[in-house]
């Protein structure tokens, strides 16, 4: 090899040694190069081989050296941290709380908003709805669906309706969530049955009530995982059906349904105004939402040309599956994520403070080491390693906290979540936790490390001798950080405060019915044994009589729905004098069919007129309207005696006489205005499934057992379900509020605790720093009171600045909470005042002990501190 090339290679090798850790390189660089040189001379080889050898050598040994150094640093850091166990535990705990809570909230966000739905190419799936004025979305009617299914931009379009299904036969009668699905629904979703097959088109015909499919869970639970389940007959709603398939483990669609039957719609009986289906479509690869909507709009236009009366006001709405299923929670979850980020920020600034204090405390050590020749980078590296060790332990502990919190949160949520929403630590969530830890470590580790490395040894030693701690800049930085903590805490506390107030308002708000203690439950009669309306009416009348006879029961009623029960039965209403009859021109009202005694049982006031009685039958059709509707239709006069028709375009609808006006009820929840409502006597068209309401003075447990006994006496094969007092229905309807309120309150509390700890730490440090000065002052005549005042002034200043900043910030940020609030403005003065009070108390708590200690300083001892 020519000399020049040899020289170039050696220089190349020298440059490669930069990959070694600095200390190693400083010690051995020249020798490495020499050894390489000697070896190359002794063993001639091609330039390529030599270069290769060099590269391989460096790349195999340099990582080992780095790893070795890291191990040493970690061991050293561990020993150092173990020397101050309280401080170390404090930092790790704070970090764990910060990381744990952040990871928990992220896991919620991930589970609900980010994790892909468990279907084939879920981004191709969308809900297809129709909208009209005032109604954001409702399902298309069956004839419309048939037309939409001609669309070319969709590979398939399927439909379903949900409902409860009674299982009888083997074992206790049970009521499960079920769905009636078109035969191509599962195919559209891209999920294949585990056993057996999907429904065939032949089975999806009216009157063909022969097939059913089970969920895996139901198969295991009720049929003991019978391997011969496919082909077996089971009792569904009183009729025998054959199981043709079992879906895979974990699959329930939509959301919670465990049992499926064919939709089996009779096209001859369906009209274009009956919007009861939920329609799901899978668009072709590459088709956008806009494109698919445009095509469907074109089809709708064709329908509107042919059937203008029923469909002219409609428009097509296409919503990606995920958006509709979980979109409601998006805002709140993002707000939660922001809130918990603030908590993390407070935790990090707290840790930064603690690290700064400690770094300043180690000035002596660092000064000596620097004087002895340790280079800055090594010092920074070691300090960062300490932070790294704290981070690792904090992260692991934080993950543990997250696991516990998630389990707790899962049990708090009272509703059954869609099956794909599981709160757990999966790889992505863990990755998030690691990133947050890494970011936090860098954040709170860098500044103190950098601070410490800038210590000038001679200056530091001098200052130490005089008992004044070095790092004025560090002290100022810490005070800034504490202000920031207080500010962030104020923001969180205000948010928690307004949410708490909202929640209380929500609970106290008048929903229009007084009797929240009434017991509610649902019953479903099997069609086989109660096919005639008379049979149903007879059963329910007897049931009401039996239940009313139970001692302690005040009144009993039945209805098609209960307030806040999630029902959405809208109909149109026409009054005499209203010439328009087209459905899209008539007012929409909320419809409930009720038995006599409904208003009394629920505690809804009848403003005028009377309740239904036995005379209000099909020959004398009656109706009761809500106050709002009465004012709307007859603003000038009395509603009693007026006449209306419900859904006048339906041929069999007769004119009804208004016999009563009921008070408005917030049927859809406290946050929605009370809708205009009508009540129709139930006995005109008794449904198979109804809600039963019982008002009594009995304790709930004994009432329930009495009710069950009575029903069983009437018909042993009837499952009762949804048994709960009305106030539980009410609180379940607002469960998400409770959820958010709990979390926000927890964050607020954590924030204020951390900030108090932070302020306390600063105050302690301040007193320690200025012990000498205090001694001088006292020797010169300052009283204990003066000293205490000095301390309190400083802490008050910090609190005041922090609170002011926080108040300004909260005015800006709590606006984003508006959608979650109820009856409270985001800048509620009372809440702000309350937060201020909390902060003042926290400040007192933080300052009391240091101020006390400061006042006890003996001047003589203090002055001696040289």
């Amino acid at each position: 090899m020519p000399q020049q090339q040899h020289g170039r290679l050696i220089r190349f090798y020298r440059r490669l040694t930069a990959l070694y850790p600095r200390p190693f390189r400083d010690e051995f660089e020249s020798e490495l190069v020499e050894a390489m040189q000697d070896r190359a001379l002794d063993r001639p080889q091609s330039a390529f081989r030599l270069a290769l050898d060099m590269i391989v050598d460096i790349f195999t040994t340099a990582p080992k050296e780095h790893w070795y150094m890291l191990q040493q640093d970690l061991r050293h850091a561990f020993r150092l941290l173990a020397k101050t166990p309280i401080w170390t535990i404090a930092v790790i705990s704070i970090l764990a709380i910060g990381i744990g809570s952040t990871t928990t909230v992220f896991s919620l966000v991930h589970a609900v908003l980010l994790r892909p739905l468990p279907f084939d190419h879920p981004d191709q799936l969308a809900f297809i709805d129709e909208a009209a004025e005032g109604i954001d979305h409702m399902g298309p009617s069956y004839p419309n669906l048939l037309d939409y299914q001609q669309a070319k931009k969709f590979t398939s379009i399927a439909a379903y309706t949900e409902g409860g299904i009674s299982l009888t036969g083997s074992g206790e009668p049970e009521r499960v969530d079920g769905a009636w699905v078109s035969h191509n629904l599962f195919e559209t979703l891209g999920v294949r049955p585990l056993l057996g097959r999907n429904f065939s088109p032949e089975e999806d015909q009216p009157k063909q009530e022969s097939a059913t499919m089970l969920s895996y869970g139901l198969w295991q639970r009720r049929f003991a995982g019978d391997p011969a389940i496919v082909g077996r007959a089971i009792q569904i709603n009183g009729k025998a059906r054959t199981v043709v398939g079992v879906m895979p483990s974990g699959f329930r669609f939509p959301e919670t349904a465990e049992l499926w039957g064919p939709l089996a719609i009779d096209p001859k009986r369906e009209v274009r105004t009956n919007h009861f289906l939920t329609v799901v479509g899978r668009s072709q690869n590459g088709v956008t939402i806009a494109q698919s909507r445009d095509e469907l709009t074109g089809i709708l236009r064709g329908i509107q040309n042919r059937f203008p009366n029923e469909t002219s006001e409609l428009r097509v709405v296409v919503t990606p599956l995920r958006d509709r299923l979980t979109g409601d929670y998006r805002t709140a979850l993002i707000l939660l994520l922001s809130a918990v980020a603030l908590v993390l920020a407070i935790a990090c600034t707290n840790i930064m403070n603690l690290l700064l204090a400690r770094a300043v405390g180690r000035t002596r050590e660092v000064a000596i080491r620097t004087a002895l020749g340790a280079n800055r980078r090594r010092i920074i590296r070691q300090l960062l390693t300490e932070s790294l060790l704290l981070g690792i332990v904090g992260c692991l502990l934080g993950l543990g906290i997250a696991v516990v919190l998630l389990r707790v949160l899962t049990t708090i949520v009272p509703i059954e979540l869609p099956y794909w929403i599981v709160f757990k630590l999966d790889p992505i969530v863990c990755l998030f936790a690691l990133s947050v830890t890494a970011g936090s470590v860098l954040l709170f580790g860098m500044i103190p490390a950098w601070q410490a490395s800038r210590i000038n040894p001679s200056v530091a030693m001098n200052e130490l001798r005089r008992g004044v701690t070095a790092g004025q800049r560090a002290a100022r930085l810490r005070q800034v950080l504490v202000c920031a903590q207080v500010a962030l805490s104020v923001v969180l506390l205000v948010a928690a405060g307004v949410m708490l107030k909202s929640f209380v308002n929500l609970n106290k708000s008048d929903l229009g019915f007084q009797n929240r203690d009434a017991l509610a439950f649902r019953i479903a009669l099997p069609a086989t044994r109660y096919s005639k309306g008379e049979a149903r009416e007879t059963f329910f009348t007897r049931m009401r009589e039996q239940l009313a006879a139970v001692p302690g029961v005040r009144s009993v009623a039945t209805s098609t729905s209960i307030p806040l029960g999630g029902n959405r039965w809208w109909r149109t209403v026409q009054h005499r004098g209203e010439t328009r009859t087209r459905p899209n021109e008539l007012p929409l009202v909320f419809n409930t069919m009720v038995s006599p005694g409904y208003f009394q049982t629920l505690g809804i006031p009848l403003q005028k007129g009377r309740d239904f009685d036995r005379h209000d039958d099909a020959e004398h059709p009656a109706i009761i309207v809500s106050e709002r509707l009465a004012k709307q239709l007859w603003p000038a006069g009395d509603a009693i005696g007026q006449q209306v028709r419900v859904d006048p375009f339906l041929p069999e609808e007769k004119w009804r006489t208004v016999v009563g006006v009921a008070g408005d009820v917030h049927l859809q929840g406290a946050r929605e205005p009370a809708p205009p409502a009508i009540y129709v006597p139930e006995m005109e068209d008794t449904h198979l499934q109804i809600a039963v309401l019982v008002s009594s003075s009995l304790p709930p447990a004994s009432l329930v057992s009495q009710v069950r006994a009575q029903i069983r006496a009437l018909d042993a094969e009837l499952p009762l379900f949804g048994v709960q007092p009305l106030n539980q229905v009410v609180s379940r309807a607002s469960w998400s509020f409770q959820f958010y309120t709990i979390l926000f309150s927890a964050f607020g509390a954590a924030a204020v605790i951390l900030a108090t700890v932070g302020l306390s730490g600063i105050m302690v440090q301040l007193v320690a720093d200025r012990t000498h000065e205090i001694g001088v002052r006292m020797a010169l005549g300052a009283s204990r009171g003066d000293v205490v005042r000095m301390i309190v002034q400083r802490s008050t200043l910090l609190m005041a600045v922090g609170t002011a900043l926080g108040a300004i910030a909260s005015v800006a940020t709590t606006r984003s909470l508006e959608t979650l609030l109820f009856g409270v403005s985001p800048n509620d003065i009372a809440t702000l005042a309350g937060v201020l009070a909390v902060i003042v108390m926290a400040a007192l708590l933080a300052t009391w002990s240091p101020a006390n200690r400061a006042s006890r300083i003996e001047p003589a001892t203090a002055l001696r501190q040289e």
Partner: protein, 112 residues
């Protein structure tokens, strides 16, 4: 001899270096050469491996740097602790060898 309780795993490269230093102080490249000849060319220490090992051995106190006649090169010598550690390893190998012979495993003669 080092206390029998402290069984510190002595990696092969470290042992070779101690072996080579047992009969006198040497500098880096010299160690490389001797280890290679010792193992009949089977172990060729690269500079990185060599000085990584030297770094460790210095940290463990098994070798030390000594002043040398040549100012340019640094010489290393084995310490008492290092000698003890090497002897432990020798003993360990001797026991193994003994077992091997008892079990009928002969010793191959290499082509000298």
């Amino acid at each position: 001899m080092a206390a029998m309780g402290t069984i510190q795993d002595l990696p092969e490269a470290h042992f070779h270096i101690l072996l080579v230093l047992a009969d006198g102080e040497k500098h880096g490249y010299h160690i490389m050469q001797e280890v290679e000849s010792l193992t009949s060319g089977q172990t060729k220490l690269s500079p990185g491996t060599l000085y990584g090992a030297i770094h460790r051995l210095l940290g463990q106190g098994y070798i030390e740097e000594v002043r040398s006649s040549e100012p340019r090169r640094r010489y290393y010598a084995i310490t008492a602790d290092g000698r003890a550690a090497a002897e432990d390893e020798v003993e360990r190998l001797r026991v193994l060898l003994q077992h091997a012979r008892t079990n009928g495993l002969g010793v191959k003669r290499s082509n000298a």
